[in-house]
């Protein structure tokens, strides 16, 4: 299954590296990354592929949210289906 990791927060050194390292740690494959900086605000959208269990995914999602808080970043990991349902017919 695929998921979307979104990262929003004040720009700082190493955001991409931090998130990418976590993906490695949890065995999550990064398929696409895009990022922009608007008025000092960093926004990154990462499309990742997930191959292990649903429980692990939930654990990863919770871990990332808490990890983001440590660095004042808002990190969300969400199943891609939610976006497809809302925005694609």
């Amino acid at each position: 299954m695929r998921a979307v990791i979104s990262v929003v927060g004040k720009d700082q050194v190493g955001i991409l590296a931090k998130v990418a390292n976590k993906c490695l740690e949890f065995d999550v494959n990064i398929e696409d990354v895009s990022q922009t900086i608007l008025q000092d605000m960093f926004t990154m959208i990462m499309i990742v592929k997930w191959t292990t269990s649903q429980e692990d995914f939930v654990a990863f999602s919770e871990h990332m949210q808490n990890y983001g808080k440590e660095y004042n970043l808002s990190i969300h990991v969400m199943h891609e289906d939610i976006f497809n349902a809302m925005h694609l017919i």
Binding site: V8, M78, H79, D81
Partner: protein, 452 residues
């Protein structure tokens, strides 16, 4: 794949605009639990509900985490208990305790169905059952109750209207140490729907399948911010289009969650109820949507027109987004649960009479309205009869959830806390209608009922 703006739009809806799935409600039929021995019947209920819904909370939490969308409540609706009580007789409150035991074991938020359907008359032990409602609500905490006293096909059962006025007063009075919460868990319906996932009026209709999953989506905040960001000079029909688009997106999300829950629980998917259900949280208000359309304050002239447009646009946007839309679907206008309504009621701009007019065009009725402890039972019955008449003639669901504020002076607020919110005491026209209410009998079904 979706572009980044759409991804951020969804995240913003959830984070900043309080978009959520209000409830996943499992409807469970208890018809096969009926027994002439009330204790056996209660035990069968406990066994069936706790078996069928054993994974409900877990699945709700899992989906919520996986999809990143908050699912606020996990609830259960059951067959109207009055039907089972007619078979077993005995103290009906035993059933309420059985339902409470189910709620405690499962960890769900509410269980609805301590209900009776008496639109054309009492059958079996309905009257005794209805009289037990105040005690049942006092002695339990998660059980909700509803009574259907009228319908377009049957007319209005005025004997039940009279009784419900007394029951509401009693329910509030005996729970006055707990903010009169008893009356907040009790709804009187006309044209009650059988697949409603929202409390306090949810019950599992006898025509429904054995077990089903319903989903109630909410999102006044999302609609409000979309309307607010629209140009002030935009014609009102274009505002309707904006609301339809938002409603479509919200409903698609509800459909996804409902289907996923249905799959994981191995229970057929019932309906998506696409109601705009406000919460006291700032920005999660239906009144603010009406104000964003161009009113200075909710309750003033133009309010009913705005609400009619909103209610209709929500349905139009939602119906094509789901395989099965049902329940109450539309806009709720509970006073104590809506920050904008609370402030309009406090300023005096929103009155009970205006609310009554609004209920003719919204999805339900007079909801979460706090009135003085001195309001008589017959006056409350009169309010119920008026509201039921609107529902009966317009072939729509109407409801009354009114709370006489025992233990409070008329200048004080009644604070329920949580999703039920806080409300000032609203003024009631106390001109007596006792003679009408004491007549009893039935208001015959209107001409609209003769459709065959």
């Amino acid at each position: 794949m979706i572009n980044n703006n759409k991804i951020l739009e969804t995240i913003n809806m959830i984070e900043a605009e309080n978009l959520d799935i209000r409830t996943i409600t499992m409807g469970i039929s208890l018809l096969d639990c009926a027994d002439s021995d009330i204790d056996k019947s209660c035990e069968k209920i406990y066994q069936k509900v706790t078996t069928k819904a054993k994974d409900l909370v877990k699945v709700g939490v899992d989906i919520s985490k996986e999809y990143g969308i908050p699912i606020i409540n996990k609830r259960i609706s059951v067959t109207p208990i009055s039907i089972l009580h007619s078979v077993s007789k005995g103290d009906p409150v035993k059933y309420a305790h059985a339902l409470q035991r189910c709620a405690d074991t499962l960890g769900i938020d509410f269980i609805g169905g301590y209900s009776a359907l008496v639109q054309k008359g009492y059958s079996g032990s309905d009257e005794e059952f209805i009289k037990s409602i105040p005690r049942a609500l006092k002695e339990t905490s998660n059980v909700c109750s509803s009574v259907n006293i009228g319908s377009t096909r049957a007319g209005i059962n005025m004997n039940a209207v009279k009784l419900m006025g007394e029951v509401i007063v009693e329910a509030a009075k005996i729970t006055k140490d707990n903010n009169c919460l008893g009356a907040a868990k009790l709804v009187v319906f006309c044209n009650a729907v059988e697949d409603n996932p929202f409390m306090a009026g949810a019950f599992h209709g006898v025509g429904e399948a054995d077990t089903v999953i319903h989903v109630g989506v909410s999102g006044p905040g999302v609609v409000c911010s979309a309307v607010r960001s629209a140009d002030k000079n935009l014609p009102i029909n274009e505002i309707a289009d904006i609301i339809k688009k938002m409603s479509f997106k919200i409903t698609r999300m509800g459909q996804l969650v409902g289907q996923e829950a249905s799959k994981r629980l191995n229970v057929p998917f019932g309906i998506v109820d696409l109601s705009l259900a406000p919460t006291p949280a700032i920005g999660d208000s239906v009144a603010y949507i009406l104000e964003a359309m161009g009113l200075d304050e909710c309750g003033g002239p133009g309010t009913t027109a705005c609400l009619a447009l909103l209610n209709d646009a929500v349905k139009k946007g939602g119906v094509t987004a789901s395989s099965s839309v049902g329940g109450l679907s539309g806009a709720f206008i509970p006073v104590s649960e809506d920050a904008g309504m609370i402030s309009a009621a406090r300023s005096g701009c929103l009155t009970l009479e205006k609310l009554e007019a609004m209920t003719a065009v919204c999805s339900v009725g007079l909801d979460m309205i706090v009135v003085s402890k001195d309001t008589t039972a017959t006056t409350i019955s009169g309010i119920i009869a008026d509201e039921a008449a609107i529902g009966m003639v317009n072939s729509k669901t109407t409801a009354v959830r009114i709370i006489p504020a025992f233990g409070k002076n008329d200048d004080e607020d009644l604070d329920f806390g949580g999703l039920l919110g806080i409300s000032p005491i609203m003024k009631v026209n106390n001109t007596s209608c006792a003679t009408l209410i004491n007549r009893g009998g039935n208001i015959p079904a209107p001409l609209q009922s003769l459709k065959n």
